[in-house]
């Protein structure tokens, strides 16, 4: 029985018929899918008809926040959305932290919202406890993300959570995102466009119902020692000061400290890795910008910007429109090479395309977001550009996975070349090449294998599975190996577990959690009896269902073929040995990954016996 954590209701909004209904949460289903990301996936599976066009009114957006969101557990801030996404056409998950949205949404009494249909004029959704209303958004439409957020905050006297889109989303640019509390990004893959296609500019929430914990005594004692561990962590201050700059030392610290105006944290987070920056001098002196990661502000530098202040200004523009920066720069780089190679006539674009120029990039961000002139062609994404300019264009295209630009790898935005779980995950996350750490030890660093067993144990990987991931582990004379394909399963599992509870998976905080503790927190907060093996099985159900949802959409193994350029020189390298990665190596890993889940080694189809075991047979 559920006695805490969950708010207890699901809000259904039909924008076409302006109908709002509130249904009680199905407790048995919540238990089976944990909540948060897990239950969001299940609700989306039920709502999405196979083959639905991502930008049609029929495509639902399901939002959810896990049972731990709204409690004081560290970094229990996560909000998830699942929908059919227009860039990749996958049924994809989108996740964000956020300052207010998650806990206020839960406090308004909801665990999930299912939004369907299309409003006949721009609207926003207002949720203040029981008072749910579809409101006209005439004064918000046409505003950037931060501006729209600010208008709503002013109107509702600030104590609100806001999910909003920019002009790129309004104009259904398939690589547009939504933002949570104007600081966290939600939905590379095109959630912004899905909102735009519904004429839905924003969702604002406020709530005061309170989130209860089932076993208060146990909660107190568990959190007491947990918080003590965090407080006594020797690098706590360093993480708080540097945030993500700690993991990406290429950013000059003096620049970072010079522009950092305030460290920002998602609700309940004791570490904090978000920033409000202010350009300290020069032409754009005084410009302030919220950012989910200061690393993002340096993306234009990766593409040739010389002055970090111009880079920040450029990102302020790109984020305001709500464009996905990786896709934007990937497309601009592609078009530049089409011009250089004569595939596109030089005067066709109508204005200069220079990836190192602020003026040029801001102009193109605008043209794409408003679908102005040649910007309309680019707004269609890689696929549309290739369709428009044909075979010659295709030859020059950067690596694409499910129509999107994988951003980590040789010749990608982040020129990282060790092939670990994140890199492999760019083809194996069902939603496409938008990946994060998932809490895996191979994330953006080469760590000694000696630290892996402890890390994997923390992620809840049973000892016998560790032996398969690290062949030779435990025997003194054998050299230890690393099976990246197998490891990716456990990374996905760990991420899904945290996401379903509502905990952030960023390295700064997830290092303090372990799977056993997650099971204890879940049981303590919700009152649902849970052991770690139970929880594992529920996670496996969730991730296998997401797989089924995408197989149902017609995705097959050839959509998961690694791009050719990963094997050209310089291509990816083996994580351990630095040897160039061969296609066969990657294919072997894909098979290993599928097999580790109990899916067919070749096609990735879950076996009948697995479906039975996971109680997914009826689906």
């Amino acid at each position: 029985m559920i006695r805490g954590g969950f708010s207890g209701s699901i809000l259904h909004v039909d924008l076409t018929h302006r109908k709002i209904t509130i249904e009680p949460l199905d407790a048995a289903l919540a238990e089976k899918y944990i909540g948060g990301l897990g239950l969001t996936i299940r609700l989306a599976y039920d709502e999405i008809k196979p083959g639905t066009d991502a930008l049609s009114p029929e495509n639902p957006v399901v939002l959810g926040a896990g049972p731990l969101v709204g409690t004081s557990l560290p970094s229990s801030s996560r909000v998830y959305a699942v929908s059919k996404l227009p860039t990749s056409n996958t049924i994809g998950w989108c996740g964000a932290g956020g300052a207010n949205f998650g806990y206020l949404f839960k406090n308004a009494g909801f665990d999930h919202i299912v939004i369907k249909g299309r409003a006949d004029q721009p609207v926003y959704l207002k949720i203040i406890d029981d008072d749910v209303e579809i409101c006209p958004a005439g004064d918000l439409w046409g505003l950037g993300v931060e501006e729209a957020d600010a208008v709503l905050r002013k109107k509702y006297e600030d104590r609100i959570g806001v999910l909003s889109i920019g002009q790129a989303g309004e104009n259904r640019v398939p690589f547009s995102m939504a933002f949570v509390d104007r600081i966290s990004t939600l939905g590379r893959g095109g959630l912004g466009a899905v909102f735009g296609s519904k004429n839905l500019k924003a969702v604002m929430v406020r709530g005061t119902r309170g989130i209860k914990v089932a076993d208060r005594k146990r909660y107190k004692s568990l959190t007491k020692s947990f918080l003590k561990t965090i407080r006594e962590y020797p690098y706590l201050k360093e993480w708080q000061d540097l945030g993500l700059v700690k993991s990406f030392p290429m950013i000059p610290k003096e620049e970072y400290f010079g522009m950092k105006k305030r460290r920002m944290a998602c609700v309940s987070c004791p570490i904090g890795c978000k920033d409000l920056v202010e350009i300290p001098d020069g032409e754009f002196k005084g410009l302030t910008k919220h950012t989910s990661s200061v690393i993002n502000l340096y993306t234009p530098v990766l593409y040739g910007f010389k002055d970090y202040r111009e880079s920040v200004k450029c990102m302020a523009t790109i984020d305001a429109y709500g464009l996905d920066m990786f896709e934007f720069f990937g497309i601009m780089g592609f078009v530049r090479s089409l011009l250089d190679n004569g595939v596109i006539p030089r005067d066709l674009p109508g204005s200069e395309i220079a990836l190192d120029s602020l003026h040029s990039m801001e102009e193109w961000a605008r043209k794409i977001s408003f679908r102005d002139g040649f910007g309309d062609v680019l707004a269609g994404g890689f696929k549309n550009i290739i369709d428009t300019f044909g075979k010659e264009a295709e030859k020059l295209s950067p690596a694409l996975v499910k129509g999107m630009h994988p951003y980590a790898g040789p010749n990608s935005a982040l020129p990282w070349n060790l092939f670990g779980t994140m890199e492999l995950g760019q083809i194996l996350d069902p939603r496409g090449p938008h990946v994060g750490s998932g809490g895996s030890p191979t994330y953006f660093a080469r760590r000694p294998l000696a630290v892996f067993p402890k890390h994997l144990t923390r992620m809840g990987v049973p000892q016998e599975d560790i032996k398969r991931i690290l062949p030779g582990y435990g025997s003194p004379d054998q050299q230890q190996g690393l099976e990246v394909g197998k490891l990716l399963k456990y990374s996905h599992r760990w991420f899904t577990l945290l996401g379903s509870l509502g905990i952030c998976a960023r390295a700064a905080i997830n290092r303090f959690y372990n799977a056993e503790l997650c099971a204890e927190f879940y049981e303590t907060v919700t009152g649902i009896q849970t052991s770690l093996p139970d929880l594992r099985q529920r996670v496996d159900r969730v991730w296998t269902l997401l797989r089924i949802a995408n197989l149902r959409e017609g995705f097959a193994e050839n959509d998961e073929a690694p791009p050719e350029s990963w094997f050209n020189t310089p291509g990816f390298k083996n994580y351990l040995t630095d040897e160039p990665l061969a296609r066969e190596d990657a294919e072997q890993m894909i098979g290993d990954y599928f097999e580790e889940w109990g899916w067919d080694r070749k096609t990735g189809t879950p076996s009948r016996s697995l479906l039975k075991e996971l109680d997914l047979k009826e689906l």
């Binding site: 709204g70 409690t71 004081s72 300052a99 806990y103 206020l104 406090n107 931060e146 600010a150 905050r153 600030d158 104590r159 406020r206 709530g207 005061t208 119902r209 309170g210 989130i211 209860k212 914990v213 208060r216 965090i230 407080r231 706590l236 708080q240 105006k261 305030r262 460290r263 920002m264 944290a265 998602c266 609700v267 309940s268 987070c269 004791p270 570490i271 904090g272 409000l276 202010e278 302030t288």
Partner: protein
Amino acid sequence: MGKYDIQVYTEKCTGCLRCQLACSDLTSKAFNPLLSKIQVFISNSGECTIHFTEECNQCGICVDHCFYDAMQKNEKEVDK
């Protein structure tokens, strides 16, 4: 009469609301930050205010929950 003088250092506040979570739980036995007796607010341009409502009894629990040194508590001198 409360027990502590609470000093705030708004420049260090991140808006994490751990203080509001803790305070609301004390009185309402549920996490309900908007009903907390401490209210933290960071404006769009980054100005921060930390405000205690009249019902605050200066128990200092919120201070214990801040990880960013944005508050400090000192025991009040009690008149004999």
